[in-house]
């Protein structure tokens, strides 16, 4: 033991490892403190500080049943959305683990295309589909169906839109767990006489339970903070708490009360997370679990949800890479031959329907972008490129695109630098308070974006960062950091540390060993992190609403203005361009990651 430790001369770093780790973490910590925690604290302080120091705002919030009811409605709606995601996401995730290599790219494309598509674009697509004389209505009419369900501007529309946004999160989370399930247990059950249904309910389902609970929690929490989708699809008939907050801030200039509602919203989310972790024993957001998991169910990952969120955020492309490279079928993970009975067909059917559900809105928007008419109509009348011309000739659109590209590039760079160093510290470092800091690092994912937006807005206005490319980039970096941390730390955990140690034994300085050995191995994860930073920023539409100015606005913000004021096919042309870009990014990232996954497998296999 002593011999091994002396492979390099004992240095100051080795004598004070804590200090080194904490110094490395400092830029990240300062950044979050300055641009996230402090603004959040200042904003929350207003809930007791305005109009005068008192609990007036909380008394108002709790004194009138309205706001508690809206909170309750928000929770109910989010619950429905999470349940919906789970019910239709489960068969899809199962199919993904079982599909033959040649089907996998198609399945993954269906799941991931919307994942990379702007939330605004998708809301817009659903308006087109759900409205009267929209796609569904037209189809029902041509089939002479006598009844016309009200879908748009009602809860149904909001649920459909939100499920569409959140489903990929659920599928990826479930997939992450299901692909690790050893099917020999199922076979064992069946060979011992269990009929397929019993084998499923008693063996497979319990084994996939961690995926269900984590997926449910992630979609539920993300749903609670939704703002754009209910505002666009609910048409005033669906009230969510984040919309109330926006109204208080913006129309009533009642910042104290808006802040109190925000505190309540954050408190609710925290309570939900804690309750859920207690009840279902989820290792959510690195908060830890009370009970040891069955070792066979989940490989001993440091934190299930951590890894899962990494999967669902970053490893989305890793999985796709798997699909593109054609991962070798693992006997234990796939049924040798699909049991072609009604269960199998039902699963396939649901999966096919879900894939349609995911992809059709995107295709419809693409079709309508070539319409020759100046209003929305489906099927589109005539063919024309005028709406593409309108985009490329429109000064406002071009300017916003330019701003968005610059902001996204800056965000990608800043978030990958700050996030990667933090990830390194979180994976390798040993110092007190690490787990607390880790949760703080993931906080921007947990705090609803509307709250973050308002807090950051107030702070940035003082710093003259409103309507400024740097302002957007700094704020978007806050939102992108958790994703980068999750992706890079997942990659770092996969790296065999002994390789780096070998380099140091051979005389390399630890820093040099890291750069020469480990960095190339995690380079694809860094690239994925940068891409996610880019997309997070490019698609960010809540903070952008606040931080935009007359001269500097991002693309999602201009689209939002356009959607509220008038709906013409220009926006579908932009949507189609964005989807095209998403596909491009998806393919590029898959190729990047695919190449490395191959290499990693070769190098890692013998050691593991």
């Amino acid at each position: 033991m002593a011999r091994r430790l002396t492979y390099a001369s004992p240095s100051w770093q080795q004598r004070h490892p804590n200090v080194v780790w904490m110094l490395l973490l400092a830029p990240f910590a300062v950044y979050l403190l300055a641009f996230f925690l402090q603004p959040l604290a200042v904003f929350f302080a207003q809930s007791v500080g305005l109009p005068h120091v008192s609990l007036h705002n909380y008394r108002q919030a709790f004194g009138t049943p309205t706001y508690l009811k809206i909170v309750w409605d928000t929770l109910k709606l989010s619950f429905i959305v999470a349940m919906g995601c789970m019910l239709i996401g489960y068969p899809v995730a199962f199919c993904l683990t079982q599909a033959r290599p040649r089907w996998q790219p198609l399945l993954w494309a269906a799941v991931l295309l919307p994942f990379w598509t702007s939330v605004l674009v998708r809301s817009y697509a659903w308006i087109v589909i759900l409205r009267v004389h929209g796609v569904i209505d037209t189809i029902l009419q041509s089939l002479h169906v006598p009844f016309h369900p009200r879908l748009l501007y009602d809860q149904a529309g909001v649920v459909i839109g939100m499920v569409h946004v959140l489903l990929p999160y659920m599928v990826l989370t479930l997939y992450g767990v299901m692909r690790e399930i050893d099917l020999r247990y199922v076979r064992a059950a069946q060979s011992l006489g269990a009929p397929p249904s019993v084998a499923f309910w008693r063996v497979y389902l319990p084994l996939s339970m961690p995926g269900i609970t984590s997926g449910f929690l992630v979609t539920f929490i993300l749903a609670i903070g939704f703002y754009i989708t209910p505002a666009l699809l609910g048409g005033g008939n669906v009230q969510m708490i984040s919309m109330q907050i926006a109204q208080q801030i913006d129309e009533l200039v009642n910042w104290g009360f808006g802040s109190a509602l925000s505190v309540i919203l954050v408190a609710v989310v925290v309570i939900v997370v804690v309750l859920f972790v207690r009840l279902f024993d989820v290792e959510a957001f690195g908060l830890g679990s009370r009970r040891e998991k069955l070792p066979v169910v989940v490989p001993p990952a440091p934190s299930v949800l951590e890894a899962e969120t990494a999967r669902l955020e970053g490893a989305a492309s890793l999985q796709l890479a798997d699909a593109f490279v054609g991962a070798p079928p693992v006997n234990a993970r796939r049924f040798a031959r699909p049991p072609a009975n009604w269960r199998w067909w039902a699963t396939m059917g649901i999966t096919a329907m879900t894939c349609l559900f995911l992809v059709v809105p995107v295709l419809i928007v693409a079709a309508m972008s070539f319409s020759a008419t100046s209003y929305l109509a489906f099927p589109p009348h005539g063919f024309s490129l005028r709406w593409y011309a309108a985009f490329f000739m429109g000064q406002q659109w071009m300017s916003a695109t330019s701003v968005s590209l610059r902001v996204a590039a800056l965000t990608a760079i800043m978030s990958v630098i700050l996030g990667s160093v933090a990830a390194l510290v979180f994976v390798r470092g040993r110092f007190p308070g690490k787990s607390v800091l880790y949760v703080v690092a993931l906080l921007p994912l947990i705090v609803p974006v509307i709250v973050t937006a308002v807090a950051i807005y107030f702070q940035f206005s003082r710093l003259h960062l409103v309507g400024n490319v740097w302002g957007f980039a700094v704020a978007d970096t806050v939102l992108a950091i958790p994703t980068v941390v999750l992706i890079v730390s997942a990659a770092l955990r996969g790296v065999n540390v002994s390789l780096e140690r070998a380099a140091t034994i051979l005389g390399a300085h630890p820093v040099r060993a890291f750069f020469a050995v480990t960095l190339p191995m995690i380079a694809p994860a860094l690239a994925a992190g940068a891409l996610f930073g880019f997309i997070t920023s490019f698609d960010e539409s809540v903070v952008a609403l606040f931080l935009s100015s007359t001269t500097t606005a991002t693309l999602p913000k201009v689209m939002w203005d356009d959607l509220r004021f008038q709906v013409d096919p220009t926006i579908s042309a932009i949507s189609t361009l964005l989807v095209g870009m998403s596909i491009l990014v998806l393919v590029v990232s898959a190729l990047l990651l695919g190449r490395n996954r191959g290499e990693q497998r070769e190098t890692a296999a013998p050691g593991a």
């Binding site: 048409g235 200039v253 590209l405 800056l410 003082r462 609403l545 913000k557 203005d561 509220r564």
Partner: protein, 356 residues
């Protein structure tokens, strides 16, 4: 844009441009940001902006040589205004607000008072000249009904008729935003239009209970109103005259009823601490001229505040404008100041009723 205050902003902008160049991901150069501008004016964007550009921005630029840098204001107007003023970083010289928000913002210390000297206001409606803002155009909230259901003139004429679901059965749409259609509920309940304020909220909501089951849609945006008419989603709608008219001109078979409608002003305000407040005042004076307002009214079906504008407006166009004499006498003015003072409780009551 050229005051010493903005040095930091300029610096950051330069720095950001440099960094972006380094990032080499921006192929397109920004154009709007670099546009020469002395006055920064924000407005609701869309068609409104297109009309304002023709009526006010371009003519002012030509008449004075002062550049105007205009852009759509975020839908989050007052929140942004407050943050600007409180952080001493006021970026707008002029913006556009609805009248009750003028009072709301003005009383919160977010606006400069308007000066009414040095401009001929003889033709301007008195109630358009407010302490913190100038009404440039009036919008009316009225009812419209499907002529497929009732021939024009045979449909509901009063809010009591609108509430009468036996005489006028059909699907209804009403406003779901702000504090809802409380004034109309009171009118339907028999309150005379000069005795509406202060609003008896309890009585209004009780009357709302009656119609609630028959309202199939509570609209939240302007664009939605015309779309509902075009799609034939409703038979009766309470909405903004400009939007209803736009639905009718696009082919929706509807008739608009001015009787017992409510009008409100929207117009210019100067944010407190605006960099070019004096120039902003000159622009506002310019925009009050009859000719300018006539051009605006030709593009947007909203009523000019300067009655002299009507001499420049073709006769058939006048009939769709809320402030045209024969229309105006059927309307009543929403008490913007009272609404501003009571907006919190009104909104809370409405939200409670609407969510309940």
């Amino acid at each position: 844009m050229h005051s010493s205050q903005t040095t930091r902003r300029e610096f950051l902008r330069t720095a950001s441009a440099a960094a972006a160049a380094a990032a080499t991901l921006s192929a397109i150069r920004p154009r709007v940001a670099e546009a020469a501008g002395q006055l920064v004016i924000t407005d609701p964007g869309g068609e409104w902006q297109a009309a304002a550009k023709e009526a006010f921005y371009m003519p002012y630029q030509q008449a004075t040589g002062t550049g105007i840098n205009f852009a759509a204001r975020p839908s989050l107007a007052l929140g942004q205004l407050k943050a600007m003023v409180e952080s001493n970083n006021v970026q707008w010289d002029v913006t556009e607000l609805a009248d009750y928000l003028m009072f709301r913002a003005g009383k919160s210390g977010l606006l400069e008072p308007i000066k009414y000297q040095g401009v001929d206001t003889s033709g301007v409606l008195k109630d358009a000249m407010m302490q913190y803002g100038v009404g440039v155009d009036a919008y009316a909230t009225v009812m419209a009904y499907s002529t497929k259901k009732w021939p024009a003139g045979k449909g509901p004429k009063t809010w009591a008729d609108f509430w009468d679901v036996k005489r006028f059965p059909g699907r209804r749409a009403m406003t779901g935003i702000g504090y809802g259609p409380l004034e109309f509920a009171l009118l339907a309940d028999g309150v005379p239009k000069d005795k509406l304020y202060p609003l008896d909220v309890k009585r209004a909501l009780k009357k709302m209970d009656e119609i609630k089951p028959y309202v199939s849609i509570w609209w939240t945006t302007g664009a939605q109103q015309a779309q509902l008419m075009l799609d034939g989603e409703v038979d009766l709608i309470q909405g903004w005259s400009g939007r209803l008219y736009s639905g009718i001109t696009q082919g929706a078979p509807f008739h608009m009823e001015w009787n017992q409608g409510m009008y409100q002003w929207e117009g210019w305000v100067i944010p407190k601490g605006a960099a070019h407040a004096a120039e902003a005042q000159k622009f506002i004076d310019f925009a009050m001229q009859p000719k300018q307002q006539a051009i605006f009214a030709e593009h947007m079906p909203y009523g000019p505040s300067n009655q002299k504008a009507f001499s420049f407006i073709p006769k058939e166009r006048r009939t769709v404008l809320p402030t045209y004499g024969p229309n105006l006498e059927k309307l009543f003015r929403a008490d913007a100041e009272w609404l501003a003072d009571n907006l919190d409780s009104l909104t809370a009551s409405w939200t409670q009723w609407h969510a309940g």
